[in-house]
């Protein structure tokens, strides 16, 4: 909330919002300084300030924007209810069903891997309103109140020792029609907006935070007295340059997006550049830290660049798997940007 007051919480928002409308250069400085100062990421607000905000700004109605955006700045938290047990990379295969009854939808089904759902006030929910035609066509995008009757949440224990993502069970949950984003059956397009903000926009902040957090790796080198180890220095120099390149492409992406010349696949390149740099960053720490890293206690609420290198390493998978895995991004780059032909659709066992 202090960041909101000072105008540093949502520098990526447009200028009519407090703290919004900042230039790219200002955003970079804010994020790098937040990381250097060891300021925790606004983990609970991640989905609300990025995913929810972008979706509402681009696809929401005026009424939805007026209702939800100020609440987000006051600290209301959101989660993303897209993935299901049977629909991960193949997101369009979702089965959670919504039926229109009068002025509300009645929703039943199950979501999984929903980050911070146990603390969320609201949910960006993808549901199936029709099973006819191509599977993308029957999808609708809803805004669901997590306190509504019929919603239950079960946190999942994760490998780094905390519970970040959850299962969400939905049993005849009522969602007012006024909380539908876009038209019925047009939710797939809205979901792409959410995902592209996740792939591109968030990475400006995360890349510059990773750059700021290089000082943790430098501290680690000194602590372990490896500052004259040429092998370590070379590895570190390579890492620093890789991180710089990830920042440069995140910058370029935003510049292109603002300039209206974003191309298909650009966000995938940004995401894979970031996720591979993040993995290299954490692996470097695990290596230089030596045996001591194997004794470290798990941390709860894993941020990405904590300096608990084993935890950071495990958390780096969040970016190679979530939001469309590294492999799925490669498919997008190859098929939609480089125009390499798709595989035949049908498949017989």
């Amino acid at each position: 909330m202090k960041l909101v007051g000072a105008g540093y919480a949502v520098p990526h928002w447009p200028e009519q919002w407090p703290g919004g409308g900042r230039s790219l250069a200002e955003q970079k400085v804010i994020y790098e300084e937040l990381a250097r100062a060891d300021s925790p990421r606004l983990l609970l607000s991640f989905v609300s300030t990025y995913h929810a905000a972008s979706t509402l700004m681009e696809c929401g109605s005026d009424e939805q924007r007026a209702r939800y955006l100020p609440a987000i700045l006051r600290g209301e938290t959101w989660c993303q209810g897209f993935s299901e047990p049977g629909a991960g990379s193949d997101l369009a295969a979702i089965k959670t069903k919504a039926e229109l009854r009068g002025d509300h939808y009645v929703v039943s089904g199950q979501k999984v891997w929903s980050t911070m759902a146990q603390y969320a006030d609201k949910c960006l929910l993808l549901v199936r309103t029709s099973s006819d035609g191509p599977k993308q066509a029957g999808i609708t995008f809803l805004l669901m109140d997590m306190k509504a009757k019929g919603v239950s949440v079960r946190p999942i224990n994760q490998i780094q020792g905390d519970e970040e993502f959850c299962e969400i069970f939905l049993d005849d949950v009522e969602v007012p029609v006024s909380d539908r984003v876009g038209e019925e059956g047009k939710g797939w397009v809205v979901a792409q907006t959410t995902l592209s903000s996740e792939r591109g926009l968030t990475l400006m902040e995360l890349s510059y935070r990773m750059k700021g957090a290089l000082n943790r790796a430098a501290d680690l080198i000194r602590q372990n007295k490896r500052q004259d180890d040429v092998g370590v220095l070379r590895e570190f120099g390579k890492l620093v340059t890789q991180v710089d390149a990830a920042c440069a492409i995140a910058d370029k992406f935003l510049e292109n997006r603002i300039g209206g010349v974003e191309r298909i696949g650009d966000a995938s390149i940004v995401k894979n550049s970031y996720s591979s740099a993040l993995r290299a960053y954490a692996a470097f720490g695990v290596n230089v830290g030596g045996i001591e890293e194997q004794y470290r206690a798990p941390i709860t609420f894993g941020d990405l660049n904590t300096g608990n290198w084993m935890a950071d390493f495990m958390n780096s998978y969040a970016w190679t798997i979530a939001g469309g895995s590294e492999e799925v991004q490669r498919n997008i780059i190859a098929e939609r940007m480089l125009e390499m032909p798709r595989e035949p659709k049908s498949w017989v066992l």
Binding site: T241, Q242, I269, S273
Partner: protein, 337 residues
């Protein structure tokens, strides 16, 4: 920005993508005629007064076609001479170079020993296309000398390269005179010139490399789309798609770093630019290694251009400091911050 797009454009028109390794002497004449040699030279010295970024844009395009014209060493030498305020023959040489005379700067470190009698012995490697030159600019031991190739005790030896797109020479000095007559700059001025030249060298080599990487990757993808095995284009195989997608990601990210460091390069440290060059040349090498593998047998034939890209990439890796050198330097610099 419009200026830059125009430069990319005119370079592509002058050196079309389908003509790799265009003949050296006509390429050189064309580049000189286009005014590219003096692109960075301030307008009051008769140049175009454009930025380093603009020069890098030209090298990016020339890298795509594996240009044989030694524009990079020429621009670096001009930068050195133009910046040498105390050099008496400066203006004369600026004019000669702008009119198309070729003077290269050595792109590899020189090893010279100066004897007590004022005579020097040693070798200056990395002089590209010195057969075209009457003089070469030698940077060594904190000084720059403009050495006439017909001076006593001076001899050129061609070093045969794997890279067929370029030619390189050693200058062998045997009791040669590097003295006040050849001196262009020394002391503090030479030190600041060295940094200034190094900044350009790294940008230009990175641009050449990423232009080459872009062209090599595009050719590879075109080949995979065209070549059929198992009744389908090879490009349909995901194992190959993913390798192409990774290469694309690496090329695009390295390019983003190149252009971000090219703007306002004066404020970027030489080490940061060297590390950027290391990344760019490493990406170039990776793309060309994969290019050969993904072409299969045809990629190993002399007739096919795959190997030309790979050989140029391998040479670029060695110029102006290699991977190990710049990675270590970047590591040390980041540790000091």
């Amino acid at each position: 920005m419009i200026e830059l797009a125009e430069l990319h454009d005119s370079a592509q028109k002058a050196f079309p993508a389908d003509k790799l390794m265009p003949e050296r002497d006509t390429s050189w004449a064309l580049a000189a005629e286009m005014g590219w040699l003096m692109i960075e030279l301030p307008e009051d010295q008769g140049g175009l007064g454009l930025t380093r970024q603009a020069a890098a844009a030209i090298h990016y395009e020339l890298g795509k076609v594996l240009s044989s014209a030694p524009l990079i060493p020429a621009m670096l030498a001009l930068r050195g001479i133009a910046g040498a305020a105390d050099f008496a023959a400066r203006d004369e040489w600026i004019e000669r170079i702008c009119c198309g005379e070729y003077v290269p700067l050595n792109m590899l470190p020189a090893r010279i020993e100066a004897g007590a009698d004022g005579k020097s012995n040693g070798t200056v490697p990395g002089l590209f296309d010195a057969d075209m030159a009457s003089h070469v600019l030698v940077g060594c031991g904190g000084a720059y000398h403009l050495v006439p190739l017909d001076a006593p005790g001076v001899r050129l030896v061609e070093r045969k390269l794997w890279d067929q797109s370029r030619r390189v020479f050693d200058l062998v000095l045997e009791e040669a005179r590097l003295d006040a007559n050849t001196l262009v700059a020394d002391g503090a001025l030479a030190a600041s010139l060295h940094d200034d030249i190094a900044r350009s060298a790294h940008l230009f080599l990175a641009a050449d490399s990423l232009g080459g990487a872009t062209a090599a990757l595009e050719m590879t993808i075109d080949f995979l789309k065209m070549r059929k095995q198992f009744d389908r284009p090879l490009a349909m195989f995901q194992a190959l798609k993913h390798r192409c997608a990774d290469l694309k990601t690496q090329v695009v990210a390295a390019e983003a770093l190149l252009w971000s460091r090219a703007t306002g390069a004066e404020q970027v440290s030489v080490t940061d630019l060297g590390a950027m060059k290391a990344l760019a040349t490493d990406v170039y090498r990776r793309v060309t290694e994969e290019m050969i593998q993904l072409h299969g047998g045809i990629g190993l034939t002399d007739e096919h251009p795959c190997h030309q890209f790979m050989k140029r990439a391998m040479l670029n890796l060695q110029l102006c400091g290699g991977l190990d050198h710049w990675r270590e330097a970047a590591g040390r610099a980041a540790l000091r911050q």
